[in-house]
Every structure is written in structure tokens, then in C-alpha cells.
């Protein structure tokens, strides 16, 4: 079928904006995506028509809001093919989802000396929570190395397992290099050692179809704001058998069954992990984002973005002095690079003045920067509203910037 990109671009009001008088070229999609009008309107509509605190309400609006909120839970479960709605926990973002796991799974299943396996390409959000657990509990963090091409070294990964390995936590897709990790193999391998696996899907969920049942991962986490939905919404999928064994993370309203000072009993899943008033307006708008994605078809999105990426790679390779960081055979539409000896900050500053929104720096993945011995990269990350024309303009701009910084 294919996508009508001009129509899609019209759905995203911000794409018509100008920066310093130049048309905005938004290539910072790995940091956060733009929102279609239907999502913006869905959130505004909650406040204009039905806003009311959810759960336990006896009045109409409260029921309407609660239904709409729970409907999105069902939609998310369907989107990733979870076994049941109760396995979908709403958080405020990927970072919180992983912190919840490092605490609630960590406190329960880890003893001093036990081990978690991460990789060298993890985002800080999948490193620091484990370091905090390390501090509290004296656990060990083992790191699977990355090859020169930016792929996970699977042989080395497999050797990290020991009788003390309690969990593996791996990103589905590298936010720096776009590398798609072989998560099926990782999960299979881990399960052969009876070790559960967390997949950080922040960079994957909006690029390719995710089926948690087929993957057989134990946990899958992602953020709404990276999948065309509002900020302040995250998702934690977990297999029921694990979630039921885990302790609550935060305490408060809604996550309890009955509170008294002599003893409190916790509510059932998923509420046990959802203390306090959730960001229900954001969640309801996430529902609109899921509808939008479904209407465009994730397979078509994947095809288009992949084509765009191939085109960009070709163009980028022709830029004098370019050095690509990460050339994995399996990848999404993220390109990290350095330009000659220029500092990424210089490249980014000049590109900014030409209307390009790209990210420069360590991308919250300093261990990966250390691995490649670089202070940072310039990163262009594409979404399905980007075009070949924008990529042409980037390659021209890079030629110009390269000359200036020469």
C-alpha cells in the first residue's frame, strides 16, 4: 500500500514551523517524536469534556474517564500482544519502568553477590537503576561488549551467565546507533539458564511490530513520548507470574485494597503498581497515538523508514570526512556520525542555524562513547514523516558545515 507522506506531514502541525526563518527539519526523533493532531486533540478533549479523577468514582464523568483509561490499557495489551490487560502497568516513562523493576524485582529476587547482565550500548536509564541497586544490595553488574560495527558480541554475552545471574536487561534497539539487537536469541539463551529478560523497547515500539508473546520476554518497557504520544506516560509490560511475586514500588491511593495502621493489603494487578492519580489524560491520548499508528500500519512504516535510512546512508557516506559510528547489519533509522575532527557540538550548532534539529553529545550512553573512544556523536534519527528531500538538504548542509569547520 505505502504511505502518503505529504498527508502524514499535514497531520503533524509542528512540521510546518520555521526555525531562524528556515523550514524546520526535525531529525531528533530518537529523543522524542512529534505528535499528530489527533493526539493533541485527544488530550485537550479530555480536559474540555470529561476530565475527572478516575477509579472509585460514582459519578458519570469519573466513569467515562476510567473507561477511557482502561480502554487504552486494553489497546496497549493488544498492540504488543500481551496475555492480559493486567500485565500492562502505566508509569511515567521508560526510566521509571526500569527503576520500578530494579527496585521491585531487585529487592525481592537479588541477594548480595547476585548478577545482572547489561550491554555496553545501554541508555543510562538501563544502567543507573542497577547501579543504585548495586549500592543498596551489593549486586554485580556484568557487561556484554559491543563489536566495532556496533553489534552485540553474542559469544561474549553468553559467557556472562553464571549460577548467580538473576536477570538480563537489554535494549531492543540502540538509541545511538540504531542497532537492532537479536532479542529473540538473547531471550532464548537467558531462558536456557532460567534467567528472565527485560527488553528496553524505548527505541523499538514505534518502528517495528512488537509481539511480547512471540518474543517471550519477561518484561518490555517503553515511553509514550517516543511513539507520538504525550510526555509523562510510560509502559511496563510484565508477565503476570513475575508481577505477582514482586513487591509494590510506590505506596498511595489506588494501589491498596485496604489501609489501616495495623496492616495494609495491596490491590490486585495492575493497580498494585499504580500508586497515586495517574496521568490519565496522557494515557487517553496515548490511545489516540496507537490508533494513529495502526491506521498507518507498522509494516508500511517500517518499509518507508528503512528505505529512508538506506537513502540517508548512501548520502552520508558521500560526505567528505564523515565517520559513521555503528554499522550493524540490522538497524532502524538512526545514524550517528562525526565530521572530520570537528566537535559534535560545533556541527550541531551550525546545523541548528540551518534549521536542522539533531542531537549531539553522548545521548545518555557514555559507556558506549567510551567504548568507541569518542566524546559524543551527531545523531540524525528519522521518523515516517521525514522525507528524502530533507535528507538531501542535510547532506548539502553537512558539506557546507564540513568546509567551515575544515
Amino acid at each position: 500500500m505505502g504511505l502518503n507522506i505529504q498527508e502524514i506531514r499535514n497531520d503533524f502541525p509542528i512540521l510546518a514551523e520555521k526555525v531562524y526563518g528556515k523550514p524546520l527539519v526535525y531529525f531528533d526523533n530518537a529523543a522524542t517524536t512529534q505528535k499528530p493532531l489527533s493526539v493533541i486533540e485527544a488530550e485537550a478533549d479530555v480536559y474540555r469534556r470529561v476530565n475527572s479523577n478516575i477509579h472509585r468514582g460514582v459519578h458519570h464523568l469519573s466513569n467515562v474517564c476510567t473507561e477511557a483509561f482502561e480502554e487504552v490499557r486494553r489497546k496497549v495489551a493488544g498492540f504488543i500482544n500481551a496475555g492480559s490487560n493486567e500485565e500492562i502497568i502505566f508509569t511515567k516513562g521508560t526510566t521509571e519502568s526500569i527503576n520500578l523493576l530494579a527496585t521491585s524485582f531487585g529487592e525481592h529476587f537479588f541477594s548480595e553477590g547476585d548478577e545482572v547482565i547489561l550491554t555496553e550500548m545501554e541508555h543510562h536509564s538501563n544502567i543507573v537503576p542497577w547501579q543504585l541497586l548495586q549500592k543498596r544490595k551489593g549486586i554485580h553488574i556484568k557487561i556484554a561488549p559491543v563489536t566495532d560495527d556496533g553489534e552485540l558480541d553474542m559469544d561474549a554475552f553468553e559467557k556472562l551467565f553464571s549460577g548467580k545471574t538473576k536477570i538480563v536487561s537489554v535494549t531492543h534497539i540502540s538509541n545511538v546507533m540504531g542497532t537492532i539487537n537479536p532479542v529473540e536469541k538473547i531471550i532464548e539463551k537467558a531462558h536456557s539458564f532460567d534467567v528472565p529478560v527485560i527488553i528496553d523497547g524505548a527505541q523499538a515500539i514505534h518502528h517495528l511490530p512488537v509481539d511480547v508473546k512471540q518474543l517471550d520476554c519477561d518484561f518490555y518497557v517503553f515511553s509514550g513520548h517516543k511513539m507520538y504520544a504525550p510526555t509523562g506516560v510510560g509502559i511496563l509490560y510484565g508477565k503476570r507470574e513475575w508481577l505477582e511475586k514482586m513487591e509494590p514500588y510506590q505506596g498511595g491511593g489506588e494501589m491498596i485494597d485496604r489501609v489501616s495502621f495495623s496492616g495494609t493489603t495491596f490491590n490486585e494487578l495492575p493497580y498494585k503498581f499504580e500508586a497515586g492519580t495517574p496521568n490519565f489524560a496522557g494515557v487517553i491520548a496515548l490511545g489516540a497515538a496507537l490508533e494513529y499508528l495502526k491506521s498507518k500500519n507498522l509494516n508500511d512504516i517500517w518499509d518507508y523508514e528503512h528505505d529512508l535510512f538506506e537513502y540517508a546512508m548512501e548520502k552520508m557516506k558521500a560526505v567528505p570526512g564523515i565517520r559513521l559510528i555503528g554499522q550493524a547489519s540490522d538497524h532502524t533509522s538512526v545514524i550517528s556520525f562525526l565530521l572530520g575532527k570537528a566537535h559534535p557540538f560545533d556541527v550541531g550548532t551550525l546545523l541548528d542555524k540551518l534549521g536542522f534539529a539533531l542531537r549531539t553529545g553522548h545521548h545518555c550512553a557514555q559507556p558506549l562513547m567510551d567504548r568507541f573512544g569518542i566524546p559524543g556523536t551527531v545523531r540524525a534519527s528519522f521518523a515516517f514523516y521525514n522525507t528524502r528531500d530533507e535528507i538531501d538538504r542535510l547532506s548539502e548542509a553537512l558539506n557546507r558545515v564540513g568546509t567551515m569547520l575544515g
Partner: protein, 140 residues
């Protein structure tokens, strides 16, 4: 009367009223007229805890037919209990397991069916069907 005949009868009774308050008046009346609950059955295992109100449900099998007793501390919920018992008491476990309780929607009480847990209607129906299943298994 079959379960569906009883449902249709109830739909008919409620159809006389357009106004919500009248419908609820009828429901309250039905709650008030519900057979009194035998205190020996007011025990933990017969309790269904909704978010706000409590419901007690007791079931027995007599001559292959199920007989229910029910109660609630909220009168509207008790009215709903009364409706449920009127429809389902006196039927076989199989009839109850197969029953499609369309009357709830039709008389405008659908909101009470929502899983938002502000009352225990969903849990009540689940519990009644669980009783029916248990007796059916026991019979075989």
C-alpha cells in the same frame, strides 16, 4: 418462566419510566422487598467486596435447581441483587451458566456493569456463575 421471560418482564416493568429517578425508585423498592438474608450465611466466604458497597450471596441446590439469598449494605445495590435473584433463582446450573443477562443493559443499568469497580455487579454475576459451575461439577 424461563430466564429470558423473566428478563423481558423486568424490561417491561422498567419501560414505564423515562426518568432516572423513577427507575431508581423502583430499584430501591425492589431492594426493600428482597427476602431477608439468613444471618447464618453472613460470613466471609459469601462476601463480595465492591469498591464501596458490600454484597453477600449464598447459594443452595434443591432438586437440581439453584436457590439464592442475597443482601447488600447499599439499597440500590440490593435492588440489583433482587433483580438478579428474581431472574436466576429456581433455575438449573446449566441454565444459569448459559444465561445472557441482557436485561441489565436494556433497563439502563449498564454502567453498573462497567469494570470500574465502584460496585460489585460484575463480581456478583461472576460469583453466581461460579456457584452454578461448582454445583454442576458436584452433580456429575
Amino acid at each position: 418462566m424461563t430466564i429470558n421471560e423473566k428478563q423481558d418482564e423486568i424490561i417491561e416493568e422498567f419501560s414505564a419510566f423515562d426518568d432516572w429517578m423513577d427507575k431508581y425508585s423502583l430499584l430501591i423498592e425492589m431492594g426493600n422487598e428482597l427476602d431477608s438474608f439468613d444471618e447464618v450465611h453472613r460470613k466471609e466466604q459469601n462476601l463480595i467486596e465492591g469498591c464501596q458497597s458490600k454484597v453477600w450471596l449464598h447459594a443452595e441446590l434443591n432438586d437440581g435447581k439453584m436457590e439464592f439469598q442475597g443482601d447488600s449494605d447499599a439499597i440500590i445495590v440490593k435492588g440489583i441483587v433482587a433483580l438478579l435473584l428474581r431472574v436466576l433463582s429456581g433455575h438449573t446450573p446449566d441454565e444459569i451458566l448459559d444465561a445472557d443477562l441482557y436485561f441489565i443493559d436494556k433497563i439502563g443499568l449498564k454502567e453498573h456493569l462497567s469494570p470500574t469497580r465502584s460496585n460489585g455487579l460484575v463480581a456478583m454475576i461472576k460469583q453466581i456463575k461460579a456457584y452454578a459451575l461448582a454445583f454442576k461439577v458436584k452433580q456429575n
